[in-house]
């Protein structure tokens, strides 16, 4: 895996803006999908994919930014900082694991999916800590959330892997960015 370089200021701006767009699409559109227990979560999958591609530092910092965005935009009513904590920890830990074990494509997908399930549980724990009574069917939500993440994982990992490895100036291009061809993404390892 490539050593982590500090991303340029422009790259950070692109990442933050990209996560704002992802979060808005999530709460205004995807969250309305009437599936039981869990819906596909773009923000969580994007953070975890970046953590796998870029390591613990990028995973932790991107997770913190993305979480803060989720904490601030309506309809957020949970503890402010709750998503920030969950995604920073998940991104950093997953980044560290991926850096140590260097999973292949299939293992990376499974790892991302399992971590997405764990984030559902972590989120429940943080909300519970902040004073709400224990929520209902959270295990079911974690399982369905992990399955949705598994569906989204291949695309997310393709989109973050190529730009992160080859383009130096624009360090990371996000899944929402245009112009990147996902089909030419993998291989190269």
């Amino acid at each position: 895996m490539t050593p982590e370089r500090p991303p340029s200021r422009g790259a950070v701006a692109i990442i933050v803006l990209g996560f704002v767009v992802l979060a808005l699409v999530q709460v205004s559109m995807l969250d309305f999908i009437p599936t039981p227990w869990a819906v596909p979560d773009l923000v969580v999958v994007a953070v975890l994919a970046l953590a796998i591609a870029r390591g613990p530092l990028a995973g932790g910092l991107v997770g913190a930014w993305a979480g803060l965005i989720l904490d601030l935009i309506p309809p957020a009513a949970g503890p402010l900082g709750g998503w920030m904590l969950v995604l920073a920890v998940a991104g950093a830990v997953l980044g560290r694991v991926a850096e140590s074990y260097r999973p292949g494509p299939i293992a990376a997908m499974l790892l991302l999916s399992a971590t997405a399930g764990v984030t559902v549980l972590l989120r429940g724990a943080v909300v519970w800590f902040a004073g709400s009574p224990a929520p209902g069917p959270i295990l079911g939500s974690a399982v369905v959330g992990a399955l949705w993440a598994l569906v989204l994982a291949p695309l997310a990992l393709l989109l973050v892997s190529r730009p992160a490895r080859t383009v130096e100036n624009v360090a990371v291009r996000l899944p929402t960015g245009d112009g990147s061809d996902p089909r030419s993404g993998v291989g190269a390892q």
Partner: protein
């Protein structure tokens, strides 16, 4: 070396997040201002995206004209019910209706119509929505948000164009309520997917099918007599210290779309 600096930086953001949570748990403060900024920035695009979503939904789901007509009728129904308070709430007898009307300041409320623009994910234990009306229309935290079938939630935070509404099923929701038929009072709490009503007096009458309504607050922000739900099952006997009931919510959160935010009008103006 690199791993050590990573640890320091990640530790710093984690500590910052924990600090934010602790500050937020202390109640009103700087975190409300932060939420207001978030709402001011995200409000307009959320409204736009929500408009796109409803348009796409109409294209996919049958005749747009029919759906529009249904939506208009639903809104009229919600308005009529909000105006009539508990009277239209369900199977109340004439006497009960009269009694409720006497205790409920159902008149004297202005209603602001709004639509749901965003919701929390199904896997999120926090149950809240954002609606397309904000402090620009005079909305403030604590106001009641009603749908056609009863109380949908309570305004939690506001920004100029959108407000965040904590739904009645949210685990942090807690409102004074009563059994409509017997008048017994108690506390209604959200459980995440439904509600739980706890009688203050364990000897009070309560049975499956009973309608649970709001008691109202002295500030009049939350009117009395708004339906919360129906008793699905009663747990505990009269011999227990507390008796509680599972409550099936009156308002289905999964189909929530058009709502009214009720704003108390100052007393003594045009009344009586």
């Amino acid at each position: 070396m690199a791993w050590r600096s990573t640890r320091v930086l990640v530790g710093a953001v984690v500590a910052a997040a924990v600090l934010l949570i602790l500050v937020d748990m202390r109640g009103t403060g700087p975190t409300d201002a932060l939420r207001g900024i978030g709402g001011a920035v995200a409000g307009p695009p959320e409204r736009a995206l929500s408009w796109v979503r409803t348009q796409a939904g109409q294209r996919l789901g049958g005749s747009a004209a029919d759906q529009e007509r249904i939506a208009v009728l639903e809104e009229q129904l919600a308005q009529a019910r909000a105006a009539a308070g508990a009277a239209a709430a369900g199977e109340l007898t004439a006497d009960q209706t009269k009694e409720l009307a006497a205790s409920a300041p159902a008149q004297g409320y202005a209603a602001v119509a709004a639509r749901v623009v965003s919701v929390t994910a199904a896997q999120d234990p926090v149950r809240s929505v954002a609606v397309s009306a904000g402090s620009g229309q005079g909305i403030r935290p604590g106001l009641a948000v009603v749908a056609a079938d009863g109380l949908a939630g309570i305004v939690d935070s506001v920004s100029p164009q959108v407000s965040t509404v904590r739904l009645v099923v949210d685990p942090a929701t807690q409102v004074a309520a009563r059994v409509a038929s017997s008048g017994e009072i108690g506390v209604f709490r959200g459980t995440g997917s439904a509600g739980r009503f706890e009688l203050l007096d364990p000897l009070g009458a309560m049975a499956a099918g009973d309608l649970i309504i709001t008691l109202g607050t002295p500030s009049r922000d939350l009117p009395a007599g708004l339906p919360l739900g129906r008793v699905a099952a009663v747990s505990g006997s009269a011999a227990d210290l507390t008796r509680a009931a599972e409550v099936a919510p009156a308002v289905d959160e999964s189909t929530l779309d058009r709502v009214l935010v009720l704003m108390p009008e100052p007393r003594g103006e045009g009344a009586s």
